[in-house]
Assembly symmetry: C2
Homo-oligomer: 270 residues x 2
């Protein structure tokens, strides 16, 4: 009753002689089943599974709507509605005349989706990166909880400073599950230009699809003040982020300290 195959509306199960491919609601009254979902949602879930399994990798072309409709034995319109939602969630990108592609962080349009700090004046641009430290450690309880791993499991810790036009502005601490990010070194991080999520995607097969942030105001302590080149007590934004990959699996914990003298965190409420 809940799968693609057994759905009452599925034309392979209830082919119609006349007009629309919709049969009478089949088995008695079980449509009120708690696990019922529309066909296009099931198609969406199947496509998401293929994304998650790596059948189609970031940047690659996925099958056309007609092909998918044929594969899943539904109409093109149903596939279309599924892809519409995936596109709205930034999992795929549609390009008229070319096809539908798996979203990737190696693109101009994705560059600023996860970088909310913008200059008070002038156009946004990507900051320079300086890796301070990379080490493997045992996950503290709080880190483990947020990454949904066991306390004491191996994690990769990264500290870096990002600068705009040479001015240190962001101090980031990152914790990544050691099981996924094997072999991540200072060298690999330094030789890589552009957003870190691009590296995660290409080198470790982990594509970030969304993140949840909590923002607070704090004062710089001595260590932080030194790294950012400001005085002790300077007010900073404390941005705590948990990022998720396919299947809403948390795979990055990040604490950023943002200097907001010439920049601001931008947010659109709608």
């Amino acid at each position: 009753m809940n799968s693609i195959i057994s759905t009452a509306n599925n034309p392979t199960v209830v082919p119609t002689a006349s007009g629309a491919g919709v049969g009478a609601s089949s088995a008695s009254s079980l449509n009120a089943s708690p696990t019922f979902s529309p066909l296009y949602q099931q198609i969406k879930a199947l496509i998401t599974q293929s994304l998650q399994s790596g059948e189609w990798k970031p940047g690659e072309l996925i099958p056309s709507e007609m092909e998918l409709a044929s594969r899943f034995k539904v109409s093109q319109g149903t596939v279309r509605k599924a892809i519409d939602e995936l596109s709205a969630e930034n999992l795929v990108v549609r390009r008229q005349g070319k096809g539908t592609f798996v979203a990737t962080h190696h693109e101009a349009r994705s560059q600023f989706r996860f970088l909310r700090l913008a200059p008070d004046e002038g156009v946004p641009h990507y900051p320079e990166n300086r890796i301070i430290e990379v080490k493997r450690m045992r996950a503290p309880a709080e880190v483990a909880r947020l990454l949904d791993i066991k306390s004491g499991d191996s994690v990769v810790f990264i500290r870096r400073v990002q600068s705009f036009s040479g001015v240190p502005t962001i101090l980031d601490d990152l914790w990544l599950p050691g099981s996924i990010f094997k072999g991540l070194t200072v060298e690999r991080l330094n030789e890589y230009k552009g957003p870190m999520y691009g590296l995660f995607e290409t080198e470790f097969g982990t594509h970030m699809i969304r993140a949840s942030e909590q923002i607070r105001a704090v004062c710089a302590d001595e260590a932080v003040a030194s790294l950012l080149g400001v005085g002790v007590g300077m007010p900073l934004l404390n941005v705590e982020r948990v990022s998720f990959t396919y299947g809403d699996k948390p795979v990055e914990l990040r604490r950023g300290l943002y200097l907001t003298l010439n920049h601001h965190y931008r947010n659109e409420l709608s």
Copy 2:
């Protein structure tokens, strides 16, 4: 070529004898007109105009999809796609079996769309309001620029403190165009319970549809520290907001100072 009436796809202009209501592309090659837009976008614009003009007020039922299709001489599917987008933008709310309603701030589901400060522990709830001051004044240059009015025009200034469980947490300064918010007094603000946007909507016919925020970290000065009951130098979030009503017209400038000892600004990146 650009209006509803003269669109090539419009069945009133190019009625078809046979199947689909789509005629051959009419006048020569002008479809590449720079102002072309799909039918459903034109329908969406027309519905938005009706919202803006007050033909249907917040909380009210708008005509059914069939009625609108008939009024605009398009198919139900085209109206549906237009309303889909309006619904995604939170301008209207669909309710199966009942109809489509104009979005209103007098609803539980809207309460937290514009209040991003959440408690570190426990469930979010709406803060208590204390109005400190209401006065009319001449708009400073910066305020005038952001509200898209003339420098020196009349504006209403409001200062208030919001508390969670009795703990002062938010200090808000607001500037509103005097031309719209006539007769706004301390009494009216105090006797009104719930989100201020509900009052703006009901009493002044101004419904906020979106807002743009810029966030920085600052330190409390003496005046602020006194109002929030904290020490001078306490780090605070400085949240500058410009809110817009229909037609993307700016109608509120707000500067909030948030105490983030037991609360945080939450944000979902996707």
